[in-house]
Symmetry: C2
Subunit: 178 residues, 2 copies
DNA sequence: GGCACATCCATGCAAACGCATCGACATCGG
DNA sequence: CCGATGTCGATGCGTTTGCATGGATGTGCC
C-alpha cells in the first residue's frame, strides 16, 4: 500500500528522482513484507481469547514501567485512533485484562494497568506468537541479516522524531535557529 | 504490535531461545517502524478524495498488466478480508475509479480494471505520496541503507512462499518427499 | 456424463473503527 | 485569582470491517 511511483515527473533533477525512487522502493518492500507477515500471524491460531490488536495493547503494557501507562501514551504506540483505543480498553477492562485507575499526578489522565490475569494472558499468547515469529523469520534470514534488519528499522523509526511534518508551521519551528 | 517476548521460557535450549529472541526483536523493529511511518503518511494531507487504503488498491492495480486484476488476486496484496475488499471495490466503482468486468477465462471471477479517471487519481496522489516517502525516509537512511533495507524485506517476504503454515496438514505437504 | 468437492465473489449482520464533539482538568498570562 | 487556551479521555453517530454464509462456476474422479 501507499506506494507511489508512476513515471518519474519530467523536468525534475535526475539525482532527486533517483533518490525518491529508492526511498519509494524501500518503503514498498518494508510495507509488503509487513503485510505478508501480518497475514501469516493472523492465520495462526494463537490469539484465541482476544484479537491480535488487543494482544498488542497487552504486550505494550507489559513493557511499561509497573505495567501501566497513560491512555495517551499507549496511543502513541498503537495504530488506532484515540476513541478506538479508549473503547478497546473498555473491552479489555470488562474482560478483566486491564484496569483503569485515575492518575494522581494529572487528574485529566487515566492510567491503564495490566492485571495479573492480563499479564498471564499476554505471556501465554506471547510464547506461542514468539514461536510463530521464529518460524516465519528464521528460515528467511540468518542471524546477521536479522540484526541488520532490526538495526535499519530502529534507525528509520527513531529518525522520525527529528523530521518535521510536511505541513509544519515554519513560524514555530525553531530547531534551525538555535 | 504482535511482539512476543516475556521472559525466556525455562528449559529451552539456549541457542533456540536466543534465535527466537533475535527474530522477535527484528519483527518488533519492522512492525514499529511501519507503524511510525503509516502514522506520518496518514497525517499527510495528500489523499484527499479517497482513503489511504483505497489508494493502495488503485496503486496495486496500476502495476498490474493492462491495469486489471482478478478480485482474488488483488486480495493477496491488500491487507483486507475478501468481503471488505469486495465492498471497497463497490465504493471505488461508484466513484468511477475502477470498473468491474466479467472474466472471459473463468466465469466465477470478476476483473477489476482501473479506469482512466482512476489512473489519473492514482498518479496525482502517487506523486505527492512519493514526495512524503522521500521526506521521511531520505533523512533517516542513506542510499546504501535504503537498498539494504529493501533487499532484506524482499528476501523476507519472498521466503514466505516456501515456509508452510504452523498448522499445515502434514499429509498434504510433499515438499520434503520429492 | 454426473456427482462430490473446491474456488470465487456477493450479501446479511454484528462488531469495531474514525471523525466530530464535549466535559473535565491543566497551564499560562494578566 | 480569573479567564483564555491547550490537553486528555469519553461518547454520539455514520462508515467500514470481519465472520458466516449462499449462489454460481470450475475441477477431479468414477
Amino acid at each position: 500500500m501507499t506506494m507511489p511511483t508512476s513515471p518519474p515527473p519530467p523536468g525534475e533533477p535526475a539525482v532527486k528522482v533517483s533518490s525518491t525512487r529508492l526511498a519509494a522502493e524501500s518503503w514498498e518492500a518494508l510495507f509488503r513484507a509487513q503485510v505478508a507477515l501480518i497475514r501469516r500471524f493472523a492465520d495462526d491460531d494463537v490469539w484465541d481469547p482476544i484479537s491480535m490488536r488487543e494482544y498488542d495493547v497487552l504486550f505494550t503494557l507489559s513493557r511499561c514501567p509497573d505495567r501501566r501507562a497513560r491512555l495517551h501514551e499507549l496511543n502513541r504506540e498503537i495504530l488506532l485512533s484515540q476513541p478506538s483505543l479508549s473503547r478497546m480498553v473498555d473491552r479489555l477492562e470488562s474482560a478483566g485484562f486491564v484496569a483503569r485507575e485515575p492518575d494522581p499526578a494529572d487528574r485529566r489522565g487515566t492510567l491503564v494497568r495490566l492485571t495479573e490475569e492480563g499479564s498471564q494472558m499476554q505471556r501465554r499468547i506471547g510464547r506461542r506468537h514468539a514461536a510463530s515469529i521464529r518460524r516465519y523469520l528464521g528460515p528467511a534470514l540468518d542471524d546477521d541479516e536479522l540484526r541488520m534488519l532490526a538495526h535499519l528499522c530502529d534507525k528509520l523509526r527513531l529518525a522520525q522524531a527529528r523530521i518535521p511534518d510536511s505541513h509544519a508551521d515554519p513560524g514555530t519551528d525553531h530547531s534551525a535557529l538555535m
